[in-house]
Symmetry: C2
Subunit: 190 residues, 2 copies
């Protein structure tokens, strides 16, 4: 039986991102990641199907929190209020580890067009999760699509601020600010 490794998942993600930025994503192997994390290859594969999945680490958790946040919003909540609740739910579980990983991930993304494409697809997927959760509440598809897109733009803006600015406000507060900015933007569309 494999023994339980405390924080193995976090150690693998941290080691992988270090290696990706030191020597590029393409040339980094699973064996190197496991080695840097002080773990074995087989431990790596207990947590991730593939090297590529490091880049979307946390996406499933985010998707689940977004969907739950929207589903649990009060019946009378408007689409954007439900989206704001989804963002608050996600912000509630973000730790210093997410912040550290966010910084490293930005460096890795800056180094590769292919990885930026994967990141854009993650964006599309998460916006779709919010849109689907809104449709399940009875919101019309085009309204849901727009609200989901606004939610994800707000999330990315606030997350980038949180990650890049040491003196930044708490993420929940930055998210409120980003959503307010998007509501203003909405009112200027004409």
């Amino acid at each position: 039986m494999p023994r339980w490794e405390p924080d193995a998942r976090q150690r693998l993600v941290r080691a992988a991102l270090e290696l990706f930025s030191e020597q590029t994503y393409d040339t980094t192997t699973v064996a190197q990641i496991a080695d840097r994390a002080g773990l074995t290859r087989s431990t790596f594969f207990r947590y991730f199907p593939d090297k590529r999945d490091i880049l979307t680490a946390g996406q499933e958790t985010l998707a689940r929190l977004f969907a739950e946040g929207i589903a649990s919003a009060p019946a009378e909540a408007t689409p954007l209020t439900a989206v704001a609740q989804a963002l608050a739910k996600a912000a509630g579980v973000m730790t210093e580890f997410n912040r550290e990983i966010g910084t490293r991930m930005q460096a890795v993304l800056a180094s590769s067009a292919e990885l930026r494409e994967r990141d854009q697809l993650k964006h599309v997927g998460l916006a779709a999760v919010m849109a689907d959760a809104l449709v399940a509440r009875g919101v019309a598809r085009p309204v849901a699509a727009l609200a989901g897109e606004m939610g994800l733009i707000a999330f990315r803006d606030a997350f980038a601020q949180w990650v890049n600015d040491d003196g930044a406000a708490p993420l929940a507060e930055l998210l409120n600010g980003a959503m307010a900015k998007l509501r203003d933007a909405r009112d200027q569309l004409g």
Copy 2:
């Protein structure tokens, strides 16, 4: 000197999409595409750097038309009015060939998750083109991002309707309808 082949580009795109849906994208070779189109491999490479580029055929033209449509909108046009002008400009050059290709492309996309990803990236890229063109007009970035996204949702909705419904109205009219629907959606965001 290679001789000029009338409609070579259209023939290559049509042949490629036929083959992709008959025998999948992965197993189709450039030689097969050229052969089906009655052309040579070297003619193929005069028009497309790679097989993959068949899937984004027309994207550069669309991007240029979107950018030009927004740049040439009257100074007093609101962001959404400028976007509507971009869509009208693109609609103005769409022919029966685009409609035929649209149908075939949908079948090909339905057959492959990887190709759907490429299509989503095309969506992201075209929305960004509109957003950038709006920013160049002095529109604030979040407003421009939202307007670009709305424009692309409207374009895709109207295009799908045009392609799938034999009795559909002209594309320009469908685009107006799709934009009107999105303005309504915008007003229901809460």
